[in-house]
Each structure stands twice: as C-alpha cells, then as structure tokens.
C-alpha cells in the first residue's frame, strides 16, 4: 500500500467520522415522504439512469 492509498484511507475514514452524527440527525429529524413522493423520486432516478446509458452509448 503506497502513501497515496494511505492518504485516501485517512480522508475517507475522516469523512465517515464527520458524516456519522449528521446522518443520525438527518435520519431522526427529516420529514417522512409519502409513497407518491418516493415514486416521483424513483421516476427521476430512472430518467437520469436512462440518460447515463445514452451517454455510455455515445462514447
């Protein structure tokens, strides 16, 4: 393992430690979405996914 990998491990580890309390707070306090909200979000992700497939075909 070279020192760039060690640096990346340290950076990603620090990110996990930094994000964890924010994640816990967001999970506890975020408003709950209805099934319609989630379906809407899912549809958007499908459109984005199809667009990525289109981009992959282009290169």
């Amino acid at each position: 393992m070279d020192w760039i990998q060690i640096g990346s491990v340290v950076l990603l580890g620090a990110m996990l430690i930094f994000i964890f309390p924010r994640m816990r707070h967001a999970v506890k306090n975020a408003p709950k979405g209805s099934s319609k909200d989630w379906l809407n979000y899912l549809m958007i992700l499908v459109v984005v996914g199809l667009f990525i497939v289109f981009l992959v075909q282009m290169v």
Binding site: I4, G7, L11, L16, I19, M23, K28, Y41, L55
Partner: protein, 221 residues
C-alpha cells in the same frame, strides 16, 4: 393595518428574498465553476502529481468542514468558497490528464452530461416547487454507505464494486441537487454561499463518477 395587506406584503417580501437567494446562488455557482475549471486546466497543464492532487483535495475538504461554516455569513465566505472550489478543481488534474490521454471525448461527454443532468434537475425542482426535504435521511445514509464502500474497495480493489459506487454516487448527487434546490425554494436554505458549496460538491462528484463510468465503458480501449 389591513391583515390581508400585511399577509400579501409578507408573502411578496418572502418571494423576493427567495428569488434573490436563487439568483445569488446561481451567479456564485457559475463563477466558482469557471474558476474551478481554470484551476483544473492549470492542474492538467502542470501535470500535477497524484500526491499533490490528494493534498489539494484534503485542504479543500478541511476548509469546507472547518472554515466555511464559520465564514459563510460574512464577506470572507466568498474568497473561502473560491479557495475550496479552486483546490477541488486543481485536485481533478491527474484524473483529467488520464482520461484526456485515453479518449478526450470521455471528458467532454462527462462535462456535457453533468451539465445537462444538473440543469434538468434544477429546472424540475424550481418549476414544480416540490418539497424534497424528505430525502435528507436517505441521502445522508446513501453518502455514508458509498464512502464506506469506497474505503473498503481500496483494500479489496474490485472493479465492479468501484463502478457500482460511481453509479450510486450519480443517483445520490441527483438527489442532493433536488434536495438543495427545493430547500432554496421552500426556505430550508437561506445562505447562498452554503447553497453554492452544496451544489458545487454535487456537480463535481457527479462529474467524477460519470468520468469513471464512461471511461470503464469506453469502446476505444
């Protein structure tokens, strides 16, 4: 005072404040993206090493965590956000150099694709004015899992896992763009410097993930 008049005045001033926030955010975002693109070009031309790029990225993240939250409510926040975005752009140097040497078309397609996804999602959130605050928990958990998987893959080195992480990053960043734009429209975010930082990070992460996916499926290998 007539209560109806008071409500109308309050609503109109709130709309003005939202419009000002959106205008300021997109102006600052455009400027930081241009600045970051300039820094990335400098990184490519200087043939920046991976170590230097990692150093620039670590410095940018440290500024993002420890300096920006303390300065975002003052004029000092502007040079800080330019510093962060410049360092992140500089950190892209070696990655861009690699993909430009493989197939320059990949970089242009990733750039255009990221721009199109960002504009499409922003336009959707701005025009529908839907509230995407319910995504907060899901996006943070997704981010945590993706960072954990990236960390694990440094040791495992599985190419398919790396591709899956990139695909997940694009989906999560799409969610962050919707969430942040809707927060600006619906009053969840009132600081244009913080809104710019959040949107910039979504764009740069999406660009890197798209570069990785397009590079992996590149037919010119």
């Amino acid at each position: 005072m007539n209560p109806n008049y008071s409500v109308a005045t309050h609503s109109s001033s709130s709309t003005l404040a939202t419009n000002k926030l959106i205008r300021n955010t997109y102006t600052l975002l455009s400027m930081t993206l241009l600045f970051s693109a300039g820094a990335a070009t400098a990184g490519v031309m200087m043939n920046l090493s991976q170590g230097m790029a990692l150093g620039a990225t670590i410095a940018a993240i440290a500024m993002l965590w420890f300096v920006l939250p303390r300065t975002a409510n003052s004029a000092v926040g502007i040079p800080v956000i330019f510093g962060i975005t410049g360092l992140l752009g500089l950190g892209l140097g070696p990655v861009l150099n690699y993909y430009l040497s493989v197939n320059p078309n990949i970089v242009m397609t990733a750039l255009g694709g990221t721009g199109a996804i960002f504009l499409g999602l922003s336009a959707y959130a701005l025009t529908t004015r839907k509230d995407f605050s319910f995504l907060a928990g899901f996006l943070m958990v997704g981010m945590f899992v993706v960072i954990g998987a990236s960390l694990l893959n440094i040791f495992l080195n599985i190419p398919v896992m790396s591709l899956a992480v990139s695909a997940a990053v694009i989906m999560i960043m799409s969610g962050f763009i919707l969430y942040q734009t809707s927060a600006m429209v619906n009053g969840g975010e009132t600081n244009y410097i913080m809104a710019t930082a959040s949107l910039f990070l979504s764009i740069i992460n999406m660009f890197q993930a798209l570069l990785h996916i397009l590079g992996a499926f590149n037919s010119n290998d």
